[in-house]
């Protein structure tokens, strides 16, 4: 007799489980997986004539045979990796200071200061940089006023400007995971390191960094993915030579009406960026599950 209620309980529990799972399954299925399947299908056809399409791999071969597309991808990947590394170098001391040196109110205040720029949209932040860097902009004007240069300097429309913009937009996504992991490091471990005669550099290298590694990697993955997929910053701050892969995808879709090529680029971007992340994890010997937890 006692088996019956427990059975009912179990079905109830099951039902609850599926109901809770439903939103995420629907979300993934309808908004992520289905569109991607459609993208793959679109990318595998070629326009023969008006309203006529045929199965073909030509969109993928175009990526490998046309040096322009390939170069654009390599350039985008290299610049994204560089931006990620620079963001890490800048964000690490900041996070260390917030997590380990400050306590109480100043700690929260500084953390919020890192957050505040993200209250305005990316577009506005990028325009802010344009106002600062342009030939008739603030920095150029200040340099002239100080007499350091005798004519306007153009600092916009080049790769350095893109880099500055990218690092600025991704700073927060590095600082947050770093502060969280550094916070969880017991201060007594650092003190023990010093007590055992370790130098600051030594303590940093063998205690702090190994402990922060999952945070570093998760920050790096997020920042890398965000920069690689960024469209706004490279388009607005970049100059006439700036090529960015997402821009290429946009061009194929919107201005060339070539959805087939654009879809192929989209799929390739997904595969290649996953590959780079996987390589990064392999090199640093981190596991994806540990980094993401």
């Amino acid at each position: 007799m006692s088996a019956e209620p427990s059975n009912a309980n179990r079905t109830q529990y099951r039902l609850g489980f599926w109901l809770l799972l439903a939103p995420i399954v629907l979300w993934l299925g309808l908004l992520i997986i289905l569109p991607h399947i459609d993208m793959v299908l679109v990318s595998l056809r070629e326009r023969i004539a008006s309203r006529q399409y045929e199965f073909s791999f030509s969109n993928y071969t175009a990526f490998f045979t046309e040096p322009l597309y390939w170069n654009t991808f390599v350039r985008t990947a290299v610049m994204s990796i560089l931006a990620t590394v620079l963001t890490l170098i800048i964000a690490f001391p900041v996070s260390f200071y917030i997590a380990k040196v400050l306590t109480g109110r100043p700690k929260i205040a500084l953390f919020i200061l890192c957050l505040i720029p993200f209250w305005v949209s990316e577009l506005v932040r990028t325009y802010g940089w344009m106002i600062l860097l342009r030939e008739t902009g603030l920095i150029s004007g200040a340099l002239q006023w100080l007499g350091l240069v005798d004519q306007p300097v153009e600092m916009l429309y080049n790769d350095v400007a893109i880099m500055v913009g990218l690092i600025y937009t991704s700073m927060l996504f590095m600082v947050v995971p770093l502060v969280t992991t550094l916070d969880s490091l017991d201060n007594s471990l650092i003190e023990a390191g010093y007590d055992l005669g370790g130098s600051s550099w030594h303590v940093m290298r063998s205690i702090v960094i190994p402990h922060a590694m999952p945070g570093i990697m998760s920050g790096c993955i997020v920042v890398f993915m965000l920069t690689l997929g960024n469209y706004l910053t490279p388009t607005l701050l970049g100059g006439k030579d700036s090529l960015w892969f997402t821009e290429q995808i946009y061009t194929q879709f919107i201005t060339r009406f070539n959805w087939e090529q654009g879809a192929a680029f989209g799929i390739l971007l997904l595969i290649l960026s996953s590959l780079i992340v996987w390589l990064g994890l392999k090199i640093t010997r981190q596991s994806f599950t540990r980094v993401m937890s």
């Binding site: 008006s50 342009r134 090529l243 009406f257």
Partner: protein
Amino acid sequence: MRSFRQSKYLTMVTAATAVFSVSAQAETLRLLTWGGYAPQDVVEQFEKETGIEVEITLSNNEDMISKLRATRGAGFDLAQPSQDRIVSAQADFDIYKPMDLSKIDADKIIPSMMAATRKNTEFEGEVYGVPHVWGTSGLIVNREAAGTVKDYTDLCDDSLSGSVSYRLKRPTLIGFAFALGEDPFAAYGDTEKYQAILDKVEEKLIACKSNVKAYWSGGDALLNLMRSGEVSAAMAWDAGGWKLNAENPDITFVAPTSGALGWIDTFVLPRKTKAEEAAYQWINFVMQPEIAARITESAGNFTAAKGSDEFVNDTLKAQFKASFPQADLDNINWYPPVPAGLEEMEGKVLDRVKASN
């Protein structure tokens, strides 16, 4: 009991309002157009006179086609692509619906423009477009800094290093082709010849790249570059030049010696339009001379409405006359319909120019 009745009454009122607001919302005209083509005061007057609500989405030629392609012609009730981009888009993607010209007050429209658009937007025996706003693209020049610029290729002059801007889009290719002495429009039907012209243009644009400060993409960004003096000569639309001229008399629009490029933006019905009647009403409304003049003042370009010139302010008329003496007006190269497939060839050229060093 009383409270029950009251609440019942309230529910009925709410239901009635809901029904009423639904029926009011049903009459909406979703307009896919360019900036300035549907100014606020014109929209308000239309809403007042007809009770139809107008929803405006700003766009450009490529964006309009892409948007309508994604929905197979749904989501908008009236669109405004340029006349040369209609037939190829219709052939490739089937996104438009033929116009019922009997519902258009043809006597309000300049006959020559009506005829030209009719010819250029005809596909499989049906007409798809009605002309609305027309204008040209040519050169915007700061006469003090770049007075020597008379044609597109003058942008490549050494004296203008780093202070030139143009778009990496098809008008630039066409403009440079004309300035190099070719006739790209005549080669539209001959792919091989067209490719030869494109190769020539590509070479010129790559050589010219060191002169370019930045390739502009948004009209406002270019106006800012010209305003601040960072760019002294650019390839752009006439209306932008006149707008700057009103602020700074040194800057103006110049019709290039090889001819300005003329375009006509049209009215087209998306295939799944849900407010066809409202769309025809809007077309007939904005073609009234006095309304058309207000659109001219907001867009900076003249319309195909008959007799609207009288209502346009004198500054704009004077600017137009200064930029277009009769000879230059006759010299305008009007875009013929683009055959399908050409834009792919042009795209590859634009990619290579962008990638070159």
